[in-house]
């Protein structure tokens, strides 16, 4: 952090006065380092994104393991993969996991890994609601919301050269730091605009897959009625705009789409068979 600030300061000085040289510092080398940081940010390619995602997913599974229900895991993978197939990143190695936790939450990991908690799943009524939530999470991956947040934050968490090493190498201290930072982010959340965008796209993806477009709004309405002070909800409420605000935003921007695709499938029986056995 300190190094990065120093470099920034040095570059700012360099821009202002080309003649100026800091004692004992090679300004040109530092400028190269800064350029590398910028390059690394633009150049995280798909294999790197997938590799970062696997490492982050492994840590999240360290926080909560998979629910010990293979049939349920396969069911959620079928719904998720069908949704992902309707998107521009259909060929990512999508995988979906139900976390064995009473918390109410869901997580999108770069590269196509999506988690949903058992606690959230148990509060849903049909497959269209599940599709709405998975559509929201899939949208985070499509628009690389977390990947961008990881990049942005890692620039200040790591020095420039360490960041490129962390991306290049699959083990070592810099890599650990990057993945730890990327995991920690799930406790802090994304920008509000990213969440609202994921809501809008999530509705569209569920509608594309043939589901009632009101699935996501229905879940938001369920969440809105729950007690925000409950510890099982605390993190989800902390990291997302309030459900009422999300419903307002969907009503404002998505009412026409919602109405056109309101009569599509709910698929309640199959869902309830899998979730409440």
């Amino acid at each position: 952090m300190r190094i990065f600030l120093l470099v920034s300061a040095a570059v700012a000085c360099f821009d202002a006065q080309a003649q100026f040289r800091l004692p004992n510092l090679d300004v040109n080398r530092m400028i190269d380092t800064v350029k590398n940081v910028g390059k690394a940010v633009r150049d995280i390619d798909e294999p790197e994104e997938i590799a970062i995602g696997r490492d982050v997913a492994s840590r999240l599974l360290g926080a909560a393991p998979l629910a010990p229900d293979p049939a349920l895991q396969r069911y959620v993978n079928h719904v998720g993969r069908w949704l992902a197939a309707q998107t521009e990143r259909a060929s990512l190695p999508w995988q979906f996991g139900v976390l064995d936790s009473p918390h109410v939450n869901a997580f999108a990991v770069p590269g196509g890994t999506i988690f949903i908690t058992r606690g959230l799943l148990e509060r849903m009524r049909n497959e269209a609601e599940l599709a709405g939530v998975l559509g929201h999470e899939i949208s985070h991956v499509l628009r690389k919301h977390h990947l961008r947040a990881i990049q942005k934050g890692a620039q200040s968490a790591l020095a420039g050269e360490a960041l490129s090493a962390a991306l290049r190498e699959r083990a070592g201290a810099a890599r650990d730091k990057l993945i730890a930072f990327g995991t920690e982010m799930y406790g802090r959340g994304l920008d509000k605009s990213d969440e609202l965008e994921a809501d809008r796209l999530g509705v569209v993806i569920a509608a594309r897959a043939g589901y009632d477009a009101y699935g996501l709004p229905s879940v938001l309405q369920t969440l809105q009625a729950l007690n925000a002070q409950d510890s099982a909800l605390a993190l989800m409420f902390k990291t997302h705009p309030a459900p009422g605000e999300r419903l307002d935003a969907l009503g404002e921007k998505m009412q026409p789409v919602l109405d056109v695709y309101a009569g599509q499938a709910l698929v309640a029986e199959r869902f309830l068979r899998q979730v409440r056995r």
Partner: protein, 158 residues
């Protein structure tokens, strides 16, 4: 379409829940925009939500029973989910006496911000996760079983 109609008959609200109309809304005879209007509910009218069908919720209002747009309703609010006032809080307690109890006693795993930040890699679970992934063909068969068909829906403009 007949199948769809049947599915829509499945009630999606378990029991009557207290709700508020957040803006002036027409109370409709049927869950459709072109249905007859029974009354206009003023902003902040307290109602009981009885049943939901996609974009519409059947409510019991002071002016009578009918359908309002689902997005015009907000449930509970600050007075919501006090123990015993709705089935929801009961559901919660059941869920919380489950795994969360054991998680608290071990103090290692869990999905609070601090627990996520402290989480260690779990490669065994990651390997298990991969075994459950579905390929595109399997997903298409699954969709067909659920009578789901894909359609083109454009993304909204940003």
């Amino acid at each position: 379409m007949k199948v769809l109609g049947l599915l829509l008959l499945v009630p999606v609200l378990a029991a009557a829940e207290p709700a508020t109309v957040i803006r002036a809304s027409e109370l409709k005879q049927e869950p459709a925009a072109d249905a007859a209007t029974l009354a206009t509910l003023a902003e902040n009218t307290a109602v009981e939500a009885l049943e939901r069908r996609s974009g519409w919720t059947r409510v019991k209002a002071p002016a009578g029973e009918g359908w309002v747009r689902m997005l015009a309703l907000r449930f509970g609010g600050s007075t919501a989910a006090k123990p015993g006032t709705s089935g929801v809080s009961e559901l919660f307690n059941v869920a919380r006496t489950g795994t969360s109890g054991t998680q608290v006693t071990t103090g290692v795993r869990g999905l609070d911000a601090e627990q996520i930040a402290a989480a260690q890699p779990n490669p065994a679970e990651l390997a298990k996760l991969e075994t459950f992934a579905a390929d595109r063909g399997a997903a298409e068969s699954f969709a067909a079983e659920g009578r789901l068909s894909a359609r083109a829906v454009p993304y909204p403009k940003p």
